[in-house]
């Protein structure tokens, strides 16, 4: 009998746990450790944040689903890894701290044969002074944050209906943020909803971003064939913002947020500030702060984790100039470089380098978008890791399946306004996610498989994906037929 412990029940962890349970023997045990009781379909938090959905529509309790499928669920947060066990007991284990009511604060050592670190990110609001829902800005990163944002928006809409003018600032709250796609979705949905409420003329909307160009999304932008040209994604994004009357500020590192005011440094080295009535600014991500110890209880955290807290896996982390970055630097198996029974999936793995070209301000402040690892790639990595672990339990001495982001594509649908007949969404496909300039010297990607367009069809697809992926996450009959 083998025991596999999965840390985290987000898109990657939940996918890994579900497939492990499906593929492993009944005598094997799958344990999920997650600090929250619910699964959250995060892409739909955008609609909660503009008041179109209730938070309850994007979450569901995990315990009944796991109980039905024979997965052990511990509502707890992982504190430390002991990949060699302890001096008293040489079996690897993870120390967890329960968050469930009734057991809150209790610690437990959970032994494992294999461990998947799929903890996702820490929402690092603390990186920017005054940033975050507990301080002076809003977020849509969690259902609770999104609900709070929707309440503030509702109040402002009432004030605008009484004739008041308001300024909305939406974007990234730090120079090293990722997830610009979420900020993009929120700003265009916000604009759409303000129009729907008949108060668009009372609103000034400003998109404030660390991206070098609009449409960078941490992927160094995307290039599409369109109307006889190969056109970069900034053209399409600028076009959408111009059409919707959204102003934009790019190449900005937000360094401080006060009530009603954000301060930012530009890539050119200028210090600027912008006042707002509502600011939805996403935080940068970091690892969740897991520690690691060897058998003698010596701290080996730097061996397992990069400085940003994400887990080091089979990637090339050697420091080298941007020109020497290669698609082959990206991990294929997601196996820890230190312990072969440790894996990291989804956002929890440390990317070897950025995808977008790095830029520093004259003061040395890094201002560029960090690489995304969310959605489709997260799920595919989770599934691939589950397949490899299953094969290793059955006798393979190494991981058997790969899911390099430099070898896989992604399909992404970004809502631009939710309405069954007037709504639109940007449907984007890229192949591969991480550009490979050795295979595709001109653009780094295969333009036959890289496309993007805006339209009502995209909105229908977005709705379809919402229901389909929630159905799949419930592990209802036929869930394996729905692709990642």
């Amino acid at each position: 009998m083998a025991r596999v412990v999965v840390l985290g029940a987000g898109i990657s962890g939940h996918t890994a746990a579900a497939f492990l349970r499906k593929w492993l023997e009944k005598t094997d045990e799958v344990v999920v450790v997650s600090p929250l009781p619910d699964y959250n379909w995060i892409p739909s938090n955008i609609w909660v944040g503009v008041g179109l959905m209730k938070a309850e529509q994007v979450v569901f309790p995990l315990a009944p689903v796991y109980a039905r499928h024979g997965i052990v669920f511990k509502q707890a947060r992982a504190v430390a890894l002991y990949p060699e066990g302890s001096e008293a007991n040489a079996v690897p284990f993870v120390e967890i701290e329960w968050t469930q009511e009734g057991k809150k604060g209790e610690r437990e050592q959970v032994p494992y044969d294999y461990l998947v670190n799929a903890t996702g990110p820490k929402l690092n609001f603390g990186a920017t002074e005054g940033l975050g829902p507990d301080k002076n800005s809003l977020s849509v990163c969690t259902p609770g944050h999104a609900r709070e944002t929707a309440a503030v928006l509702r109040e402002l809409i009432e004030q605008m209906k009484r004739g008041e003018r308001k300024r909305f600032v939406v974007g990234t709250g730090h120079g090293m943020c990722t997830c610009e796609g979420a900020a993009f979705e929120y700003v265009v949905n916000l604009e759409f909803e303000l129009r729907a409420h008949g108060v668009r003329d009372k609103a000034e909307i400003v998109y404030l971003s660390n991206e070098y160009e609009l449409g960078d999304f941490g992927m160094d932008g995307v290039r599409f064939r369109r109307s006889g040209y190969v056109t970069p994604s900034n053209i399409f994004t600028e076009s959408l913002y111009a059409e919707r009357g959204i102003d934009w500020i790019t190449r900005a590192h937000v360094k401080k947020v006060e009530p009603g005011r954000a301060y930012y440094e530009t890539l050119g080295g200028e210090d600027k500030e912008i006042s707002f009535d509502m600011a939805m600014l996403l935080p940068p991500f970091s690892g969740v702060g897991l520690k690691a110890y060897d058998r003698k209880n010596e701290d080996i955290t730097p061996r397992l984790f990069a400085a940003n807290g994400f887990m080091k896996v089979d990637a090339d982390y050697a420091s080298k100039p941007y020109e020497q970055w290669r698609a082959g630097d990206w991990p294929r198996y997601y196996q820890s470089s230190a312990y072969k029974n440790l894996f990291a999936a989804g956002i929890a793995f440390a990317p070897p380098h950025a995808v977008s070209r790095p830029h520093l301000s004259p003061r040395g402040t890094p201002i560029f978008a960090a690489p995304p690892r969310t959605g489709m790639p997260s799920a595919m990595i989770g599934k691939t890791v589950a397949r490899s672990i299953t094969d290793m339990i059955r006798g393979s001495d190494r991981p058997t399946h790969t899911a390099s982001m430099a070898e896989m594509g992604a399909a992404c649908v970004a809502s631009a306004g939710a309405n069954a007949f007037k709504g639109t969404a940007a449907s984007i496909t890229v192949f591969p996610i991480v550009p490979d300039y050795e295979r595709y010297p001109d653009y780094g990607r295969d333009l036959d498989y890289t496309m993007g367009e805006i339209g009502l069809a995209g909105h229908w697809i977005k709705i379809l994906l919402h229901h389909m992926f929630l159905y799949k996450a419930h592990l209802r009959p036929g869930w394996t037929l729905i692709p990642e």
Partner: protein
């Protein structure tokens, strides 16, 4: 801090805005974005394209 920083002020005249230099959709492009027959076709086409990407991404893994 506010004494040393420049306050953001929105541009007033059209050609002072970044958006003046952006590509803008024509009427026919906007019309097609929500024109049902065209969008039903695009729904089929985009879904097909996405399935091809998913299949290719899984290939050999």
């Amino acid at each position: 801090m506010s004494e040393q920083t420049q306050e953001y002020k929105p541009a007033q005249r059209a050609n002072m805005k970044d958006s003046f230099y952006a590509t803008k959709p024509t009427g026919i492009t906007l019309f097609l974005r929500t024109f049902l027959p065209w969008q039903i076709w695009r729904f089929v086409r985009i879904n097909w394209k996405m399935l091809v990407i998913i299949r290719r991404s899984h290939k050999g893994h």
